[in-house]
């Protein structure tokens, strides 16, 4: 079983539309995992029906029992996250700032502080409209620990792939280079980098590749809207060559890309379009490389 992760560094390069297209092309060979738990969008295209949903708990939150609290202020003194508010001498916890380290509870002389498990989101196992297993999740507003939710989504996808003997797990990653991305990359066999020929597209590609490189994962790249700036596309191609990244495909700028999304469809479902052929060839390449 091989894990293929699609990331981009920069948002809005077409990562999710491309991943959803691969999902359709992968048919019965894939289990799909949407690991962009912060702003998940793939469900819009794949319209899954949830078969199982569960809350996800990770980390803790401090709660002060005002009946026991003597307002001594020890918790305020030790908190490094400015999470203890003091108003008229009453100490309370600022839920958004608390990082659940538990230090306050440990130093409270009257045991007025308890740590409760924190519900940080929900995850779902679903069936796409193509009848494929699809694991996705939604992080709660302002929640921490997105990396752990990503790891959980990936583990569920792995279990399903093993159970039903599916050769590929296809993962839609999140933008950036921080904890959810690191979590998406761990255990991956092949990374697909989606970029666009803009100064920011190339800048972000270089940064996220530095991370991929640290993990020693093989990578390929798709340049979306490649004809919007040929100079930048050539610069990207040069970078790919220098870093030994496989150039999987260049997609031309095509209104069909947005049109498909507006119709809540994947690009490869539209009839008579060039993008479909290019994406089909890319998917065949990726399967061999993974």
């Amino acid at each position: 079983m091989k894990e293929i992760v699609v990331i981009s560094g920069k948002g809005g390069t077409g990562k999710t539309s491309i991943t959803a297209s691969f999902a359709v092309l992968g048919d019965r060979d894939v289990v799909i995992a949407d690991c962009d738990v912060d702003a998940a969008d793939m469900h819009i295209l794949l319209q899954p029906e949830n078969a199982q949903s569960e809350d996800f708990y990770s980390g803790e939150l401090a709660v002060i029992d005002q009946d026991i609290c003597t307002q001594c202020g020890k918790c305020f003194d030790v908190c490094r996250f400015e999470a203890i508010d003091v108003s008229n001498g009453i100490h309370t916890v600022d839920e958004l700032s608390c990082e659940g380290c538990g230090y306050c509870a440990r130093v409270c002389p009257v045991d007025a502080i308890t740590n409760i498990p924190l519900n940080v989101g929900k995850w779902h196992i679903a069936n796409t409209r193509f009848n494929q297993p699809f694991v996705h999740a939604k992080l709660g507003i302002g929640a921490d620990n997105s990396g752990k939710l990503v790891a959980h989504v990936k583990n569920m996808a792995k279990e399903i792939a093993e159970k039903y003997n599916r050769p590929y797990i296809l993962v839609d990653g999140s933008p950036g280079v921080g904890c959810p991305v690191v979590s998406s990359l761990s255990g991956a066999h092949f990374v697909v980098l989606v970029t666009e020929p803009t100064v920011s597209g190339l800048h972000d590609l270089k940064r996220v590749y530095e991370l991929v490189h640290k993990f020693h994962i093989k990578a390929g790249c798709i340049i979306n809207k490649s004809d919007i700036n040929m100079n930048k596309t050539n610069e990207i191609l040069k970078f790919l060559k220098e870093e030994d990244i496989i150039h999987l495909a260049s997609l031309p700028y095509d209104e069909n890309f947005t049109k498909a999304m507006t119709d809540c469809k994947t690009v490869v479902e539209l009839k008579d379009n060039k993008l479909k052929d290019i994406l089909t060839q890319s998917w065949e390449k990726i399967k061999k490389l993974a």
């Binding site: 702003a39 969008d41 380290c101 302002g142 690191v182 920011s200």
Partner: protein, 288 residues
């Protein structure tokens, strides 16, 4: 006056709006632009600027000093992040898991885990023709953006205490902890989105987040003309002000791809920025 530019979805135009608005607004007002998307900072790519200050940013992590350590294991017990682990006769620290809460260090009976600085990124201050620009950049491999965002905000507060200055913040994408940190001190949030099903889905998440934070916000629609009218409809039904609609033009995409500002070359963009500026200036007068 602090204004954060945010969006649920990535790639909707946060940086385009931040850089163009900063440049436009600075013709007649004092402006500081700060790039808080420390994982992928892009604003600087669109500005011609001169570096005037640079400093390393750190987080504090415990470092084991074995001399007096009795291997009691208290450090491991008090760490909620599993960042400190006792293995046979050693204490191991995993810096990427550490949240710098100091519990292990301060609760150690023999002071064997003193806190030490570890570099997590860099802050740079630039000067453009008309305004100051600050950017922070997280080291690759460093997972936590929040401590760097926090320190960057502190730097701006200290260097530019005058509340008459328009302080613009280019925020990270999403709705999780980095966005909260970047927006929680702002007076107003501009949410930028695009008129597609993805754009709608993600702007609703962003709107819910801002409501949860009890923040005032408005929406700017970018690439207006592609997709559909669902965001117009959503905003009208929910009484959310639409501050501007930036049209979908190939010329914009081409200028953007080269890293150029738009407002001085594309009149439609200038017109829309004027609307945002009028809104902000009015807002500032009413909040005074």
């Amino acid at each position: 006056m602090k204004i954060a530019i945010a969006s649920g979805k990535g790639g909707t135009g946060k940086t385009t709006l931040s850089t163009n608005l900063a440049s436009f607004l600075s013709q007649t007002n004092k402006v500081v632009l700060t790039d808080l998307d420390v994982e992928e900072p892009n604003s600087g790519l669109f500005l011609k600027s001169k570096l005037i200050h640079q400093e390393d940013k750190y987080k504090m992590i415990p470092e084991w000093n074995k001399t007096d350590c009795t291997l009691c294991g208290n450090c491991q017990d008090v760490c909620n992040y599993h960042a400190v682990i006792k293995i046979v006769d050693m204490i191991m620290v995993f810096p990427e898991l550490c949240h710098s809460c100091y519990a292990c260090s301060e609760l150690c009976p023999t002071n064997s885990l003193p806190m030490k600085k570890q570099k997590i990124g860099e802050l740079k201050q630039y000067k453009t023709d008309n305004f100051n620009f600050i950017e922070s950049r997280l080291n690759i491999g460093e997972e936590q953006a929040v401590p760097l965002i926090k320190q960057t905000l502190d730097y701006v507060d200290k260097k530019f205490p005058d509340d008459n200055i328009y302080k613009l913040y280019d925020s990270p994408p999403g709705t999780s902890c980095p966005v909260i940190e970047a927006t929680k001190d702002a007076d107003f949030i501009i949410l930028i989105t695009e008129p597609t099903p993805f754009g709608l889905n993600d702007v609703i998440l962003a709107i819910e987040t801002m409501k949860e934070l009890k923040k005032d916000f408005g929406v700017v629609i970018n690439r207006y003309g592609i997709g559909n009218k669902d965001i117009d409809k959503y905003c009208a039904e929910n009484n959310i002000p639409i501050l501007a609609k930036i049209p979908n033009l190939r010329a914009i995409a081409e200028l953007y791809s080269k890293g150029e500002l738009l407002w001085n070359k594309i009149p439609e963009v200038k017109e829309e920025l004027q609307k945002v500026q009028d809104f902000i200036i009015k807002l500032k007068k009413t909040t005074k």
